[in-house]
Amino acid sequence: MKLGSPVLIAAGVLAVLLFTGLSGPPVARSNVHSPAALVLAPDGKVLYVADQTQGNIAIVDVATGKVAGTVAVADPRGLALSADGQTLYASSGERDEICKIDTAARRVVARAEARRQPTGLCLSPDGRTLYCCNQFTDDVTVHDAATLKRTARLPVVREPRYATVTPDGTMLLVANQLPLGSNLDDSLGAVLTLYDLAGGGGTQVQLSRGATDVGQVVCSTDGHYAFVLHVLGRWLVPPTQLERGWISTNALTVVDLEKKARLNTVLLDDLDRGAANPWALALSPDGKTLYSTHAGGDEVQIIDPAKLLKLIAEWPADSLTALEDDLTAVYRAGVRQRVPSGGIGPRAVVATNDGAFVANYFSGTITHLSAQGKITQTIALGPQPPLDDVRQGEMFFHSSKVCFQGWQSCATCHPDGRTDGLAWDLMNDGLGNPKNAKSLLLAAETPPMMAQGVRDTVEVATASGYKYILFHMPTDEEMAATCAYLRAMKPARSPYVTRDGTLSAAAKRGKTIFERKDVACATCHPGPLFTDLKTYGVGTKGPYDDRSEFDTPTLVEMYRTAPYLHDGSAVTLREVLVERNKGDQHGVTSKLKEKDIQDLIEYLQSL
């Protein structure tokens, strides 16, 4: 599938803005350190570390292992460094802006508006162009690296977090974190978007059926291949067990950039031990070593890309097992080594020819690993205070150490506490009737849990999740902290509202329609939770459901929770309101005009 040409923006907006009325941040805030991104100066002497919860970029002297200074950037999520090391770019997820930092002066010298929740940044090889992934507007904005002026907007598929440019500068590779499609479509999986920067448009390369939680993408030094990390959810079978990757496996896909097609996918797990939450990926400058971080299991894998390509090339075509279904192929081929990251929650990595620096999100440390995987240095960004319940809960939520054999964490199916875009046939309501993975936002406030309301409270659901999905007996401490984290989750501001939370004109019209008695949306979805906590039959029963009534979900953050309905069968809100509501059982929408529907959708997306 090809997308249209990049959408050119007539005039970019470069502005230094003041912010007010922010919606709550998506991460637990405290005085803790949380390195989320890092880059290394060309001379290898300085590390720049995005400390997400501190709201600054820490400048670390590698020789002494000390923080030499900081530059304030709210909620920093992505970093890019110019080839001469003089200019650092940082994205501020909270403020929706890109900051240009003079590394010598250690201050922000320019800011530019990005779109909603900018995350990963990358520079073109000539250093003239900056690309910024905007997670909630599902696009990449293109900026002049000198002026930060926005020159284009490239739509991608869903929640891009990482992007990179081929060494020859001709192609932009964007990792879409989540799949977008109907959960009735067996071939659903996340895609890698390839943009021909010479103007040839975009191509979507499906990573694998069941791919989700896509992490970082890197390009081989010769530009022939892209390597991308992701979860490979075995989402079409009931999650009866974890053994042998029955629910989630953790994969690396190699994409042939010439053919613009997936070459093959390998699993980074072991037979009896998962490599949960693959997150960041880095290739050494000599192209000989890949480092992947596995945030769930606090691990780094040191991968030999040459051996990996050899394994793929030699995998027998007539094998009974597809490579992506073989749990020991990588192990037996000696493709990689698994080592501890030296901290908790490794979410960023930067490689040299001799090793790699790894950012451990929850421990607030940077560790240096030798190419042999030995921890040779541990740098603390500062004193890490004792974890409060919420932060500890966030840690458990993202940890596969509270999972049998470490296959996955809560965050595997609920990245950032939300949804992985897939449907799962949990055992609590019979078999053969998969349900779309729900966002856990406001879960505590909107009991009962699950599509059929089979769990009374968030505590019951959390305990069940640990027991029946992670096959782990949670301690009281784990339970209390996890629930505290879930309760502390705050909605992220919709990209459909202004920065101060104001509805657009269309959304305001949609709100009126939503609240009209005769349309009756608000009857069952009254604010502020947008649910009356009851169950209804709204004509969505599928052929395999054993009942017709479903729990009324909250509508908050609908802009990021597609697909919709309990079975994930509706990709858009239009489908929900129009195509799937012929008998007006799910609100009276049949009498609404097309423009009303558009306004209503605009409002729903703004919640």
């Binding site: 075995r234 079409l236 029955w246 749990l327 078999l431």
Partner: protein
């Protein structure tokens, strides 16, 4: 042939045996020949007058044991010995004494052929022993099954055990009075084999085992050592002794000795070659060039001498090259030890840095000792003798370095106290069950065992006692995760000496019997702490017998609370479950023994399960000839897929064998995942098909305990004459003694102290349910149906094997070459068009599966079974997929089905498949009209002198099926499809207008698919129905926690 030169001048008595000559060899030979003469004379004299006359055996039987109570019953021979009397025996038979001259001492004799009634039968054996004067001798006994021994009316032995007979199973002092003594034996059979053994000499009177002979030979050696003291003589004595040049039963002839010397020369040359190959690999070819040349010379000499072995003087000519080869081999082996030590030192230094003290000093020593070794080789190469003192000093220095570098300085051994078992008697078999047996088949008393703590780095320090029994077998240690308590197995005097699970604090306090059930007709042992505080153990309370012996109780795996309550059966297997150990991820690994329609010499594989009994699945070695048998598996630290275990044989060495590291991620069968056999750095692994694997080779190992991925504590017996000691073994082939206690065996090392408690896997059972749910993703995935077109499989047939009762051991109990067990047919469940299946099965039930095509013919045979726990949801990818195979992505199975299928019965309720009940009616309807006599005869009558019917004997040869011992590898799909049978082909082609109904076809096909079963239950299968045991199995089963929970649920 005695050498003519040896003329015995001395008188022929013990004091004058020693005949000194010029060399020690000549001296020993002359003295030995003198000894032979003396013993011949003594033998003649004893035969003539004898201090002791052992009269002929008399036997009488059969007396009844059909109620299993015969052991305690008193039959006439217990009250009077009247050899001319006749008594009434079992089943209205007549019992008369018969003299049995064929029952010679020192051999196992079977009784079966001497009696018409042998099942559940008892015989008595009597003999008169006349002693010239009062004396005490020792009687060595064996029996199949139970044994009672009286001497002059005094009961000396009383062992109600099920077992097969072998020498020296029991022994007792026989205090003889002057004159006639009366020895009476009672041999109590259950079923199958029946026999006994007696000797007054250990090992059956083999002269090598004769203590007097041993003492005299030993005295000769002592004199030799006193007279010939040069280092060369000393070393030569050691070498020839160790090489068996002077075996205890040497007949005094020179050729016998020359052949042994020649054999030893060959062994040293080939042994040297093997070591050289390893050294060449480690050090390069150049480093071994000199000894390689020297070996070639020695080999040439061996070849040249080979035709001269019968000539006089051959022994003397052989001694030169043989001793040179022996010393060269010692040099090379010691050199190889230095390489191994060097590798371990390097590893420890790299792994532990400063924690490993003295690395530089050790390296210096290694260099110096290596130089000394090279000098020795050069010397030999130059044609000079290797001086014994140089060699021995060097060897001692190497051993001392190993002690210093690998033991005293090793950070892995600095854990403080080590718990071990010190068991006496340590010789012979110090308490290791035969490989087909468990504790219940082993001697319960006559042991002296201490659970002790020692310092692993101090070989001389005194052991401290945790627990001691001077009577009972004590073993199967398991330390609690907090390091404070230890579980062990020991018979309980309060429960008829049945084995029980005991617990004691490591401080020796708080001894308790954990297994609290009052029953005393089964044994409980081999227990293992679980992460949630419960205890897994094995027990013979399943009332099952090992299929081939019958006399050996099967012990299966059970779960109990820490207080011994809520006992629940976990495994429902044909043969033993053994050696449960918790893996690092919380699962339990254990040995499962099974054979059903597969070769029964190769099937003790590793299995894993969750602690609640769910997820029972193959861990390693399914469908493999090799490894034959795996015992004592323990996880390597930090790994879920790697274990260390002992590879043993099906028969042969009891429980012992080679130490292997198995990585299940490298592969799941044969040598695929056997990453290393220790020692054996240079060994190329193959897939040997050997019943008695590792038997006869040395060293032997049991009880490996991993200290790391590379270093192991292990109990080892280095050679046939050594003691079982505690050793440090590593992946570099170092085998360093830590503790040897002469006279005792040192077993089961476990470092004392806490270990991380593995995670608790949430229980996934619902004990109130009687069933379980099975989800199969896609029957066509996996090798089981490889190549079978999609859409072929319509249903799965479910069959439950029913296992035999105590005492019923025989190959052809239930069919002719048709498996060992009764097979119950439960019915079928549907397979969807997409290959998936969702169905409910009875829980706690072993289930064999057969995928069926539209004609109801099995397309593959599962010659094994799976078992689900109550309420478990069990899922599999397909039909025998590889363990490494995950489900496919993006393919939805069973999208249309939410309700699990129930089992569709097969022409009636689930029942044992009986030929008479299921197939005979088909024959009666279709065949018997024409075929009721002659060669093809389908009459249902019993075959004369046989257990099967005429019709069965007639029909089964026309059927092609796996039989009893088909290939252990997975069968090719459709290999034994019913269509391949002559019977089916003939009927399909058309036979005299016979038209079978669909049901009759189905009955024939099902009988073929089930491997031609005959007996549909154990009453039909064995001549004397074991009613008491059938009842007893049900009684015990009714106590099961799951059965009780189901009853309570039903009442609600």
């Amino acid at each position: 042939m005695l050498a003519a030169s040896v003329v015995l001048a001395q008188p022929l008595d013990e004091a004058h045996l020693y005949a000194k000559q010029d060399t020690w060899q000549d001296t020993l030979a002359a003295s030995w020949r003198h000894l032979i003469k003396l013993e011949q004379a003594e033998g003649d004299a004893a035969a003539a007058t004898g201090p002791l006359a052992l009269g002929p055996w008399h036997v009488i039987g059969s007396f009844g044991n059909s109620d299993g109570q015969g052991f305690a019953a008193v039959y006439p021979p217990e009250t009077e010995i009247a050899l001319d009397k006749t008594y009434s025996g079992m089943s209205k038979s007549e019992a008369k004494w018969r003299r049995m001259d064929s029952f010679v001492d020192g051999k196992v004799h079977t009784l079966n052929q001497h009696f018409r009634l042998t099942e559940w039968a008892i015989a008595y054996l009597y003999r008169k022993i006349t002693a010239r004067e009062a004396m005490e001798i020792t009687g060595y006994f064996g029996s199949d099954d139970g044994l009672v021994v009286w001497l002059n009316g005094e009961k000396l032995i009383s062992e109600d055990v099920p077992r097969g007979p072998s020498p020296d199973q029991s022994k007792a002092p026989l205090k003889l009075k002057a004159g006639d003594n009366h020895l009476l034996l009672k041999i109590v059979n259950r079923t199958g084999g029946w026999g006994f053994y007696f000797s007054t000499k250990p090992g059956g009177g083999n002269s090598a085992e004769n203590p007097t002979h041993r003492r005299r030979v030993s005295a000769l050696w002592d004199r030799l050592r006193a007279d010939f003291v040069s280092p060369d003589d000393r070393l030569a004595m050691q070498t020839e002794s160790a090489d068996g040049v002077w075996p205890l039963d040497w007949d005094g002839t020179e050729p016998a000795q020359s052949r042994r010397l020649h054999g030893a020369l060959g062994a040293h040359v080939s042994g040297s070659r093997e070591v050289l190959a390893g050294l060449s690999h480690d050090l390069g070819e150049a480093a071994v060039a000199e000894p390689t040349k020297l070996l070639a010379v020695l080999e040439g000499q061996a070849g040249a001498l080979s035709p001269t072995l019968d000539q006089a003087g051959a022994a003397a000519r052989l001694r030169g090259p043989m001793h040179l080869a022996a010393r060269l081999r010692t040099v090379l082996e010691t050199r190889a030890q230095l390489v191994s030590t060097g590798l371990a030192v390097t590893d420890l230094a790299a792994t532990y840095g400063d924690q490993y003290r003295g690395a530089d000093m050790f390296r210096d020593s290694l260099i110096e000792l290596t130089k000394r070794g090279e000098a020795l080789v050069r010397r030999a190469d130059a044609g000079k003798a290797i001086a014994p003192t140089d060699l021995q000093d060097w060897q001692q220095a190497v051993a001392a370095l190993q002690q210093a570098a690998l033991v005293r300085a090793n950070p892995l051994l600095q854990f403080g106290k080590l718990m071990v078992l010190i068991r006496k008697p340590g010789g012979g078999n110090p308490g290791l069950p035969q490989n087909w047996q468990s504790n219940s088949s082993m001697r319960r008393t006559g042991w002296d065992t201490t659970i002790a703590t020692i310092d692993p780095t101090d070989p001389a320090g005194a052991p401290a006692t945790i627990f001691h029994s001077d009577k009972y077998f004590v073993g199967d240690l398991c330390l609690s995760f907090d390091g404070k308590r230890v579980l062990f197995s020991m018979p309980d005097a309060q429960k008829a000496d049945r084995y029980q699970v005991w617990e004691v604090g490591v401080d020796g306090q708080g001894l308790r019997n954990v297994t609290v059930a009052a029953d005393n007709d089964y044994d409980n042992y081999d227990a293992c702490y679980l992460p949630n505080g419960q205890i897994m153990f094995t027990s013979s309370r399943c009332v099952q017998a090992v299929p081939c012996t019958g006399g050996d109780h099967v012990a299966l795996m059970y779960l109990m609370d820490a207080d011994g309550g809520k006992v629940r059966q976990l495994t429902f297997d044909q043969d033993h479950s053994w050696c449960p150990r918790v893996l690092n991820d919380g699962r339990v690994v254990y040995t499962r023994w099974e054979y059903n329609d597969t070769p029964h010499y190769f099937s003790r594989l590793l299995f894993s399960m969750n602690p609640d009994g769910t997820r029972q699945m193959a861990f390693y070695g399914s469908n493999s000839f090799f490894p034959n048998t795996m015992f004592y598996a323990r996880p390597l630290p930090g790994s879920n897929s790697r274990v260390v275990c002992v590879l043993s044989g099906h028969h042969g060495n009891p429980r012992m064998g080679e130490v292997a590291i198995i990585d299940t991620a490298e592969g799941e069968m044969e040598a695929e995942g056997v990453v290393r056999i220790l020692p054996g750095r240079h060994r190329q692994l193959t897939n040997p098909i050997v019943d008695q694997y590792a038997t006869g080779q040395w060293p032997q190992f049991v009880h490996p305990y991993p200290l790391s991925e590379k270093f192991f504590l292990v109990s080892c017996k280095p050679g046939p004459d050594g003691w079982w000691g505690l050793y440090l073994l590593d992946v570099y082939d170092n085998l360093v003694p830590l503790r040897v206690e002469p006279g005792a065996a040192v077993f089961e090392p476990i470092p004392l102290g806490p270990t991380p408690t593995p995670p608790v896997i949430p229980p996934a059972v619902d004990l109130s349910r009687k069933d379980a749910l099975v989800y199969m993703y896609d029957v066509y995935r996996g090798g089981g149906l490889a190549g079978v077109p999609r859409g072929t499989i319509k249903a799965l047939r479910l069959i439950e094997p029913v296992y035999r009762y105590w005492g019923n051991g025989e190959t052809h109990s239930t069919a002719i070459d048709g498996g060992w067990d009764v097979k119950r047919i439960l019915g079928t469940v549907p397979v969807e068009a997409d290959g998936s299946a969702l169905f409910r099965v009875p829980a706690n039930t072993p289930l064999m599966v057969q995928p069926l095509n539209a004609a109801g013919m099995a397309q593959q045979q599962m010659r094994s079974w799976f078992t689900a726990m109550p309420g478990e949801t069990l899922s599999c990818v397909g039909c025998h997929e590889r363990r490494a195979q995950a489900t496919a992505t993006g393919l939805r199975a069973r999208s249309g089905v939410t309700k699990p299928a129930a089992i569709q019965p097969w022409y009636g309720p689930a029942r044992g498949f009986s030929f008479a009940r299921e197939v005979q009616p088909v024959l009666d309807r279709n065949c018997a009209r024409c075929h009721s006599s002659g060669r093809v005869d389908f009459r249902p009558d019993p075959q004369p002198n046989g257990r099967f019917s005429i019709a069965y004997n007639t029909l089964h040869p026309y059927v092609r099926r796996p039989g009893l011992e088909s290939d252990i590898h997975m069968l090719p799909p459709r290999e034994f499809e019913a269509n391949t049978s002559q019977l089916v082909q003939m009927l399909k082609k058309g036979h005299k207008g016979v038209k079978l109904s669909a049901e009759d076809w189905d009955r024939l096909i099902t009988w073929i698919d089930l491997n031609v079963p005959y007996a549909g239950d154990w009453r039909e299968a064995v001549p004397a129905a074991p009613e008491n045991l059938i009842r007893r199995r049900e009684e015990i089963r009714a106590q099961d926690a799951a059965v009780r929970a189901q009853q309570q649920a039903a009442q609600k």
